[in-house]
Symmetry: C2
Subunit: 423 residues, 2 copies
């Protein structure tokens, strides 16, 4: 793992495109996240890079051939860095290529965004010890954390087909549930529908079956990150999940933000990673000097809720919580090294979910399950409404950004999804 | 669900190809399973149908355009039946198209088989109550079956990337395990490596997010079946799987047989499906008259083991057990209806695993975990060797076939995989 800071990260770098220099933009020239978009006239998805309120069509500046994002993602890190450098150069103030690059811009407001890549396999982890502890307490008050938690980056496989891009809406799922005092289960609409605030991590270079990826090479196999909402039906999960884990409680919908912020864009926001005093050190295959030095990433995260009443009143919603990805108990490199230690092969475009990213404080729960103490303490919204779990018409918006003294602030864009009534 | 028997199933139907009429062939003209193969000169995979010891190249007889099996799989059932009829007609004794079809044959011995289709998502179920009970007893002697078992077709998501075709070999996986008396876990080669005898079920027509597939339409969304070995690392699973289910214990390798036997080919082998006396009836969304009448499928299954010593002695291996798919507690239609009841979308080429198919008798365990009572009672092989779990160099072969008075016997071909030493 090598964290490279080059001139693409310089805080004083400016673009000839005014909207990229707006202090409020999430997409200044220091960010350059990748996504796929479709103009009205396009037959398929095109690869673009967000810049200010525009998108740079990479095919029109000759930086990619077709719309195959997964092929771009699997390039070696040097080639990806060269593309980042070329985009940065072309968008800079004074670039001799300004005319060519300007002709390749399309307004973000004029296109439809697609999923940023074709997702092969999706693995969801459980990297927030604060989430694992708070949720564990609801089931096992005296023993919230299971014995493996501090040794194994716990993960499980999720479903790719139902992952859609921001803007997704989906009907409230039906499912089997059984009340504790009932003799038999019944089928009905989920009554404990929840969101989960996660980071989505995209795989870059593949490995072949049987080939482990060591900690030292792990981040070369990661392309970048997006925001991810792993919608969850808590009541369905409670009845179905023994002994093989969550299934229909998770696979009815998951929502991704459209832009992949690359590991290279995130380079200035790396932080030292350490275990709390008294916790065991990771086993050697999950440890490295680089990981201790800079394994964590400082990403501020927020969950917003817009109820139908708020939308009607013209409100964009209310912030429910904030947390930071640097509080995760396992780093990205550790997830890659663990996932492949058994020889499992990863492919370009595969997605890891971080698991719900709760912070250490009670008001930092990354789900309503946590914020409402399992539905026992409704949260009170500023407009007088209350919520234990999500109601029909509710829209959940995830936001994320990185800021650090001496560097330009960069953002992730929105991850937005809406619950429709059950069919 | 409509089970159609037509002239393609007639027992006296013969082909102009002699090897298809060999009583020992698994691929008589009544079978016609689909797969993908590659001749030395082919740049990609081609779609073919197994007939006797040959493969009919479907492109060369004009029945498909390219090599996109998933496009063929998603055709409506009527279109799939028409293709089956056309293949059957062309291969029959006296066919006017004999010359054209003969020119499209290639010997099975001369090609390399690929995975039969591109697998999007893979879901593994747990449909054998005998397996669930036997394994449950090892952990909970007084309460082997969890309370949800007879209500929920328990399933979980697996990994697609490591599913390879018959002939796969893979190194023994490494993983974390913790001995009961140890303070901390260690990383090392799996010591309890096992196979699982399963049926793989392939999805045909897709549904869109939010759209349930009812029992009455469920089998129109199924293309066919193959044999499936869901290799399992029991010791890794024991330490990692709480609370979210199996992960690295399963995703290092899974092996599929190369031929998909279609639901149409299986039509003569359907059986009534019923619950044992005293068991609860399925909830209405998992029940239908057709399912009770013909929901089960009579497929004889076998597991064979070939140790390195057997291979050296020229032995093809020893049969370890036999079971029958009709003993499963949940039918294919029930798996489809349950998987989509929450609105989850299935795609053509998605794979379901049946879960380990053990029979009701102790010698019918579909895994070594069962046959060796959790490793406590080694099984004794005819050549004097013993096994609790798999050793390096062991080859596991799954076989399956259908037979019924008045119909031609059809087979699935082999599902073969070999354990290599840990790297």
């Amino acid at each position: 793992m090598t964290i490279t800071l080059d001139d693409t990260h310089a805080a004083d770098l400016k673009s000839w495109l005014a909207s990229a220099n707006d202090p409020a933009t999430e997409f200044p020239i220091q960010n350059l996240p990748f996504g796929r978009f479709r103009r009205e006239e396009d037959s398929g998805l095109c690869i673009g890079v967000a810049i200010g309120d525009q998108i740079l069509d990479l095919r029109r500046v000759g930086l990619v051939q077709g719309g195959q994002m997964n092929q771009l993602m699997r390039l070696p890190r040097e080639a990806r860095l060269a593309i980042r450098q070329a985009i940065s150069q072309g968008l800079r103030e004074g670039s001799p290529e300004q005319a060519k690059f300007r002709a390749a811009l399309v307004a973000q407001s004029e296109v439809e965004m697609g999923l940023p890549c074709d997702i092969g396999d999706y693995t969801d982890f459980y990297t927030s010890i604060h989430h694992a502890t708070t949720v564990g307490k609801q089931f096992r008050p005296d023993n919230p954390l299971l014995p493996n938690y501090k040794w194994v980056p716990v993960g499980y496989h999720g479903r790719s087909s139902s992952i859609h891009v921001s803007g997704q809406s989906f009907p409230r799922p039906l499912g089997q549930t059984k009340a504790p005092d009932a003799d038999i289960p019944t089928l009905g609409p989920c009554r404990r529908l929840d969101y989960e605030l996660e980071i989505g991590i995209f795989i870059s270079r593949p490995n072949i079956i049987g080939e482990r990826i060591p900690m030292s090479a792990a981040e070369d196999h990661v392309f970048g990150m997006a925001l991810f909402n792993d919608w969850s039906a808590r009541d369905i999960q409670g009845w179905e999940y023994q002994p093989l884990g969550p299934f229909l409680s998770k696979n009815f919908a998951s929502t991704l933000s459209p832009w992949i912020v690359t590991m290279d864009a995130l380079a200035p926001f790396r932080k030292a990673f350490s275990r709390p005093a008294g916790d065991p050190q990771p086993l050697p295959y999950l440890d490295s000097p680089q990981n201790r030095e800079a394994g964590a990433i400082d990403i501020e995260l927020e969950v917003w809720l817009q109820t139908p009443a708020m939308a009607q009143a013209g409100s964009a919603g209310e912030r429910l919580m904030r947390s930071n990805y640097a509080d995760a108990y396992w780093t990205v490199a550790q997830l890659v090294a663990h996932h492949t230690v058994n020889g499992c092969n990863l492919r370009a475009g595969d997605l890891f979910g971080s698991g719900t990213l709760s912070g250490p404080e009670p008001d930092q729960g990354g789900s309503l399950l946590e914020l409402s103490s399992g539905g026992k303490q409704p949260i009170r919204l500023a407009n007088g409404e209350t919520r234990t779990f999500l109601e029909d018409g509710d829209t959940v918006i995830l936001r994320g950004y990185c800021q650090r003294e001496g560097f330009r602030r960069i953002g992730f864009g929105e991850c937005r999804g809406t619950v429709l009534p059950a069919r």
